[in-house]
Symmetry: C2
Subunit: 298 residues, 2 copies
């Protein structure tokens, strides 16, 4: 089990078969800076798809030898995205990374039926992994970026996606807290109803590989004393590994609060498709982008 | 202007007329511990309403002389709450504090028409004040605890309540960011529509005493560089004093994230009635409870 990002990065470094990340529209300084760092850290190898002339220029500015990089010329963004997806579907790439192109173009290629990267019943969701330094462990938050107002069935898939990532991080039976503003059932707060359903579905074996409890407020989920003060009896309360957010609004604010208020190290992954997807934000730090690549090749 | 809680506490200490806090159902160890600390710190004086026998016992256990405290015997919780409200309506108390009784009983007394503490068109809302240590200043979050899914008109009132508190904290023209997951208008995210309305209403002079902008994601609101990366031109972006939350779910998670992930010093106030109200949570630290009392007597 990995307790922080350094342990995870070290584990990836020691693997002999480096994973390959296909970057769609790679002709961007920030994207290449990130790829360069990941390659130097021995986290992944890359196939750079896009305007190869520009890519070479940027690589030289980063003091990299362009001849040591694999490139594919494709100046049309939509086609560059499709090329990346094609490489993944042919198993020539292990992960996809969004470069300098519109998210919609990137996602359209990802969902292109011909390549079958997203099976019909699959749901793609986002997970933020954070180093919860005070407790010396990693904690997962989902979904902070993709699904706006997931219904119950979608929450089950979001939860399952996060659990699969938690397993990769070495958490055998992750504890999942369904986050709500209160720890009691309140029929005026639909998220408390979903939380009860998810919790019971887990108890009945409909959701496996984890331990789910909710509704739980954030304090009860993270702090055993806070849970005790509210007389909550739960193996999850105080020790949650996965925080299932009730909606994107809450997840997004939480994710950003971890970075801007708590200044925790984070990384994010977009999962649920047949390959992991790397979609970092311009405002992410270089280190957090590296963590995102590491999570995707895990 | 106060840049941290210590400055605020010092300013209150130097005032010669101590404010009086009426505590409903004061017979509780944690509540009296908090009152004792506030009195020692010269933040406020108290009228303790409740089971006076128990109150005396607890005070003695806290090494306090019960004879130095003002008490009113009332063992019925509902009546104790009404007594506190009565004292406030008669200007014999400057703030109300919830002790060991159900929130619903406490609020019922507060909204009791006879005492008129909450004018018919007023809206009671909650504000969390946090020491944003990295930027050496205070930041306000609202509403994290009272209004579940405020509509536009209610958001205007929540905003105005927070602005009045910001003025008390010495912020002449606080910058208000309407927090959403994205910084663009997205008709599928109703909070971005409310944010645009609030922003324009401020521009047209319908909301005064502050500078409002939104939709803004949390990173854009707090970090000038993140705002620049998204090409956002706004005097609020990067420097928000007040974070207007789109709903309770988001506000509550954010509030708790400040305490449990970021470990910031916080304090909360319930405002909008004719007197400030102190409703702390059992899981709050003693220091944060002291801040709550200080904010209410400000």
């Amino acid at each position: 089990m990995y307790y922080n990002f350094n342990e995870m990065l070290n584990a990836i470094r020691t693997k002999t078969d480096k994973k390959i990340v296909a970057v769609a529209a790679a002709h961007d300084h920030e994207v290449l800076e990130c790829a360069t760092a990941a390659r130097k850290e021995q986290i992944a190898d890359f196939i750079l798809i896009g305007n190869t002339e520009k890519i070479k220029e940027i690589l030289i500015s980063l003091e990299e030898d362009p001849d040591t990089w694999t490139m594919i010329e494709e100046t049309d963004d939509a086609k560059a995205a499709l090329k990346a997806v094609e490489l993944a579907s042919e198993k020539k790439a292990d992960a996809l990374m969004k470069g300098l192109l519109h998210t919609s173009l990137f996602l359209r290629a990802l969902f292109h039926k011909e390549y079958g990267l997203v099976p019909p019943k699959a749901l793609v969701s986002q997970v933020t992994v954070a180093e919860y330094t005070t407790q010396h462990r990693l904690v997962l938050l989902t979904d902070c970026a993709v699904n706006v107002t997931p219904n119950y069935a979608e929450k089950v898939q979001i939860l399952n996606n996060a659990v699969s990532l938690a397993h990769r991080l070495g958490m055998d039976c992750p504890k999942v807290a369904c986050i709500t503003p209160v720890e009691v059932i309140n029929e005026k707060m639909p998220e408390t109803i979903d939380a009860a359903m998810l919790s019971k579905a887990n108890e009945r074996g409909q959701i496996k590989g984890c331990l789910v409890d909710g509704p739980l407020a954030l304090d009860n989920a993270l702090c055993a004393e806070a849970a005790k003060a509210k007389s909550i009896q739960s193996p999850v309360a105080g020790y949650a590994d996965i925080l299932l957010m009730p909606n994107l609004c809450t997840g997004n604010a939480m994710d950003k609060s971890l970075r801007y208020f708590a200044e925790l190290k984070t990384g994010s992954a977009v999962i649920g498709a047949n390959v992991p997807i790397i979609m970092t934000s311009r405002s992410d730090s270089a280190q957090n982008k590296l963590h995102a690549i590491a999570l995707s090749v895990l």
